[in-house]
Amino acid sequence: MKKVNIWAWIILLIGIVYFFLPLVATLEFSMRMIKGRYTFEAYRVAFTDPKFFLNFGYSVLWALLTIFFSTVLVVPTAYWVHWKLPKARPFVEFVTLMPFVVPAVVLTFGLIRLYGRPPILLLGSPILLIAGYIVLSLPYMFRAVDTGLRAIDVRTLTEAALSLGAGWVTILTQVIFPNLRVAILSGVFLTFAIVMGEFTFASLLAWPAFGPYMEEIGSMRAYTPQALSVVSFLLTWASIGLLQWIGRGRGQEQVAGAH
């Protein structure tokens, strides 16, 4: 028994070291901007750059737009698949896995080729960027919502609401959405974290965003980018923490997991 315990701890320790060592090193490096002392000078420099706020602000805007349209697209689709077309589920799931199969660079070039010339010209508007981000968010959004839908009896709840005279809008907004709250939020936070750190789309489509900004800073300065990566990690953790905190509430609900 004891032996097993020791091994478990050793493995856990290796995991922790593997995960945290680069982070600690980054943090440590980012605080050495002024020789011989640990300071937050790099962070001060990062946060006083007006371009930081501009790019960060744009990324937040892209993230919010992506979240909105992705939710509007995924929730009714996943709901409909559960309720009427359970056989189509594997197919829909496969489609949502596209961003794992098709690299972002390929996807972006495909979008540029298709929409960069007549008859459909979309290059000048952020529609392409948001559409691309929605595709990127699909695996997380769909799986989160799908897990949430599995946890409730979609079919019977829908039929119960129907027999009480409710129409589709009422059923979606008053029965399905509230019961998927935690699942949707889990998809939302993951999407937020992904869009905030995304580089390829924003860079190739030439829209201001946090990812390209970090890259730009990284090629010019030594300490600030490290500070920014620490900040971006904290941001992701804050999202996950927020998600756990919201999901804790009612005993019956469970946090729909990201896979």
Binding site: S163, A166, G167
Partner: protein, 353 residues
């Protein structure tokens, strides 16, 4: 004209005919149950009345109006599900008031009706609870109140008690019946439990493989089953294939025993094979009172069931059950004893295949 008419309704799923030519008239205030094994089409028929399935052919007429193609949310129908299906994000009051809110009733009206419904199900203090804070039986009562809050024309219950434990099942089915009688609401009750169907229905529809086997009062269904399926599905039954000995005299031959039956055998010939059945409670020991048939038997097995003692006897080459009421002074025979059992000629039924 009946309140709810189901006319020649069939439902085909792919290549499977789930419901075949279903015909039934249900009167206002009547409680009819659909009884049968799983996959017999009882739930599909109910779902067609609810509007969740559309019949492949036939018509459903409610209150003089053809509702065959009407969407479920336009029908005046309340439904109770096996899995309760309460909305987990709403309180008990929210659940009961949901349909009223959809109908855009005033908050005052909703509050009043919800209170009325909570009183009806004897749960006046539970309005602010959430479904997960209630037991299964309480959840199902709330689901019943929710279905009744809109005062529907017809109440549909789809195996409402199947997920509950035995004690609650018995008390809740009495409660459902009392509420249904009190409101005088027309109801269809789907179940696979024959005891449930017999105890609370005005009429029972026994179904098998998509077909109606027999429609009748619980009394008729139990005492005069028309087909072998009904006889076997409802209650315990002894059956044996026997030969007609004397069509005019109603005599049947089972191995070396002759039985007298009250059934009309005029259309049969001597030597025809028929399926004969006797309910276990119609048999008794001949030592007390001799009836039309007195048959030699051997005691094969004795099972004590509490209020009833079930004795297995060998009649000819067949094994039959015989039920006798328990009492503390009962003198039970020993296994292997020779004895005689008796039954009236009315107890000997001949079934259609």
């Amino acid at each position: 004209m009946a309140f709810l008419q189901i006319e020649n309704v069939s439902k085909i799923f792919g290549s499977v005919e789930a419901v075949k030519d279903f015909n039934l008239d249900i009167e206002k205030g009547e409680l009819v149950s659909f009884l049968g094994p799983s996959g017999c089409g009882k739930t599909t028929t109910l779902r067609m009345v609810a509007g969740f399935e559309t019949p492949s052919s036939g018509r459903i007429i409610m209150n003089g109006e053809d509702i065959t193609q009407m969407p479920p949310n336009k029908r005046e129908v309340g439904m109770v599900f096996q899995s309760y299906a309460l909305f987990p994000n709403m309180t008990v009051a929210g659940n009961i008031g949901f349909g009223l809110k959809v109908m855009k009733k005033t908050p005052q009206e909703i509050r009043q009706r919800v209170e009325e419904m909570l009183a009806l199900i004897n749960m006046p203090e539970y309005g602010d609870r959430y479904p997960y804070q209630l037991s299964g039986g309480q959840q199902q009562r709330v689901a019943l109140a929710r279905a009744l809050a809109l005062r529907p024309d017809v109440l549909l219950l789809d195996e409402p008690l199947s997920a509950l434990d035995a004690k609650i099942r018995v008390s809740l089915r009495a409660e459902i019946r009392a509420i249904q009688r009190k409101l005088g609401i027309t109801a269809i009750y789907v179940t696979h439990d024959q005891e449930e169907a017999l105890s609370l229905s005005d009429r029972v529809v026994v179904m098998n493989a998509g077909r109606m086997e027999q429609v009748g009062s619980p009394f008729e269904i139990y005492n005069f089953p028309k087909t072998a399926f009904v006889a076997n599905f409802v209650g315990t039954l002894n059956t044996a294939t026997v030969e007609v000995e004397d069509p005019a005299g109603g005599l049947l031959r089972m191995d070396n025993l002759i039985l007298k039956s009250a059934e009309n055998l005029q259309e049969k010939k001597k030597g025809d094979k028929v399926l004969m059945s006797i309910r276990p409670e119609r048999l008794s020991f001949a030592s007390e009172l001799k009836k039309d048939n007195v048959l030699d038997c051997t005691i094969e097995n004795i099972t004590f069931l509490g209020s009833v003692v079930r004795i297995q006897v060998r009649l000819g080459n067949s094994l039959f059950y015989m039920d006798t009421f328990n009492n503390p002074f009962l003198e039970l025979p020993k296994l292997g004893d020779k004895s005689q059992v008796t039954c009236s000629k009315e107890a000997v039924l001949v079934l259609n295949h």
